[in-house]
């Protein structure tokens, strides 16, 4: 499938500080890639390079078929950035209308984007007076007027309530179905797990892990066993491969790297043990493990 974003060997320095050191990243048409990582990992620097706001050194950065430093290329993107305030005096209709006019598109393109983002009826409202969720949708509406081939979303649902988030992602899914690629950064790991086809974990300026959410979960060998048993916690702690044991609401929760062996020993000691479940690690646990012990996974 065609790449709508291709980054090879991106290095970005702020003075002596290296924010990105040799990052590779791709997004295909119709694919949603989530960029995860702790604060200061380099996600926003990477996004700003992708949308052409800053320029690092790279073997290749190709966005929507061109260099992001070219204005014509950027007009083919849909971008939602963090911490944006709209001009106090312009209305929703004027802001999206101007975004369309700057690209040589008709006012109808603006009306379609406004409707798609659920902002119809608010055209005459001052943008600065909209709620946080409406402002995020307005920013996306500006980008949607051009029918973008790549959407770049930097923490797009930060501060949104559940309903606003659901509506936001419904729109993104429709665009994905129509063949647009999506690059999204988020701190909401569950959200990333739900919407992303692929997750890229960045830490200290490097890509430290990459794969589908399931693939990443499997990289962490730890499993979580939850069971109702009479075997004391102190005994379970002596089992090989058990990392932690705790009692939670009358249930024993065991973290282990060898769930099969632990379950067998438990049932040997307590054949009446019941309500037993074994779960893989959550994406959040994987992320924590990766960014705390990244040398294991590189």
């Amino acid at each position: 499938m065609e790449h709508v974003l291709e980054v090879r060997g991106l290095v970005h320095r702020y003075g002596d500080y290296t924010a990105l050191s040799g990052v590779d990243l791709t997004v295909k048409a119709g694919e949603c890639v989530a960029l995860l990582g702790p604060n200061g990992a380099g996600k926003t620097t990477l996004v700003r390079n992708v949308i052409g706001l800053i320029e690092g050194n790279a073997d290749l950065i190709q966005v929507a078929g061109g260099s992001p430093r070219r204005a014509e290329t950027r007009r083919r993107l849909g971008v939602v950035q963090q911490a944006v305030g709209f001009p106090r005096s312009l209305t929703v209709g004027e802001i999206v209308g101007s975004a369309a006019a700057r690209r040589g598109l008709s006012p109808e393109a603006a009306s379609r984007a406004i409707a798609e983002m659920g902002l119809a009826g608010l055209e005459k409202h001052r943008a600065a007076q909209l709620s946080g969720g409406q402002q995020q949708r307005l920013q996306l509406a500006m980008g949607l007027v051009a029918d973008p081939v790549l959407l770049v979303l930097d923490e797009p649902t930060e501060g949104l309530d559940v309903e606003a988030r659901r509506r936001f992602w419904n729109t993104i899914r429709r665009r994905l179905d129509n063949g647009a690629g999506v690059l999204v950064t988020t701190h909401l790991v569950d959200e990333a797990a739900a919407v992303a086809d692929r997750v890229v974990v960045v830490d200290r300026g490097r890509v430290v892990a990459e794969g589908t959410p399931d693939e990443l979960r499997r990289t962490l060998s730890e499993r979580r066993i939850s069971v109702q048993t009479k075997v004391p916690v102190s005994v379970i702690r002596t089992f090989d491969s058990v990392e932690t044991v705790e009692l939670r609401d009358g249930r024993t929760v065991i973290a282990t790297t060898d769930s099969e062996q632990v379950v067998r020993r438990l049932l040997d000691l307590d054949p009446e043990a019941n309500d037993l479940t074994v779960a893989t690690a959550s994406l959040e646990e994987v992320l924590i493990a990766i960014t705390q012990h990244e040398e294991v996974l590189i």
Binding site: L53, T73, R74, Q81, V84, F86, R88, S89, S98, A101
Partner: protein
């Protein structure tokens, strides 16, 4: 493509200025009110004629072009709005040119107000002279707009407003735009020749009284180059 973007940007800038009536009040009405006050107090029987339009008009134009582009740029940077514009492919030069251009209609309104007061106090004015004075003042405003952009790129909105006001009032007084230089202490009057507003006013006055223009023109051209370099450096160091 860039012409369309430029026109869209100018329209948005004009709307933004028009919908902030308080800013408009200070930029447009204050110079006109000052001129009316001085014309009434010091105009005598002859009133304030075209030469006064040149001097006070320079003040009126500066009060608009020194404040609006810079404050508007500082606000756009502070809000992250300039980042949004750049990310959607709006060339930076077009955005900045639009901010400079959008100030001009308000400068024209100020000059029209000052001209009207002059007409009321001094009687009929020479139309050609008035048009030449207005043309020179508008064209000569470019270095001041560039300086305003430099301040707007470097400072927050509140600080930019304070800095630009702090520059405007002393420089127009020291350049002899409010009171003739002869009324100032000699050592203060000697400073005027180093100040760009003085040269703008002299260039405008030359359209009425005649006299050399090349020296003033060269000074303003040099100021334009310095202003452009300063604006570019300030923008490069700004956190957009």
């Amino acid at each position: 493509m860039n012409t369309r973007i430029f026109l869209t940007e100018v329209r948005d800038e004009l709307l933004s200025i028009f919908r902030e009536p308080i800013a408009l009040f200070f930029s447009v009405l204050v110079p006109v009110a000052f001129f009316a006050l001085f014309a009434t107090m010091f105009g005598g029987e002859g009133g304030f004629g075209v030469e006064s339009v040149a001097r006070y008009g320079a003040f009126g134009v500066l009060s608009v072009v020194l404040s609006n582009p810079g404050i508007s740029l500082a606000d756009a940077i502070e809000r992250g709005w300039l980042r949004v514009k750049r990310a959607d492919g709006t060339p930076l030069g077009v955005t900045l040119s639009a901010k400079v251009t959008a100030a001009l209609p308000y400068a024209i309104i100020t000059l029209a107000g000052i001209t009207l007061v002059a007409r009321l106090t001094a009687g009929p004015l020479d139309t050609i002279q008035v048009l030449r004075v207005i043309g020179v003042l508008l064209l000569g405003s470019l270095p001041f707009s560039l300086f305003s952009l430099a301040v707007g790129a470097k400072f927050s909105t509140n600080s930019a407003t304070a800095v630009l006001n702090a520059v405007l009032i002393p420089s127009v007084i020291l350049s002899g735009l409010w009171f003739p230089l002869e009324m100032l202490p000699a050592w203060l009057g000697n400073i005027a020749v180093y100040l760009p507003p003085y040269h703008l006013a002299q260039l405008a006055l030359a359209q009425v009284e005649g006299g050399a223009v090349w020296g003033h023109l060269a000074y303003l051209a040099g100021t334009t180059i310095v202003g452009a370099i300063t604006a570019a450096l300030a923008y490069r160091s700004a956190e957009v």
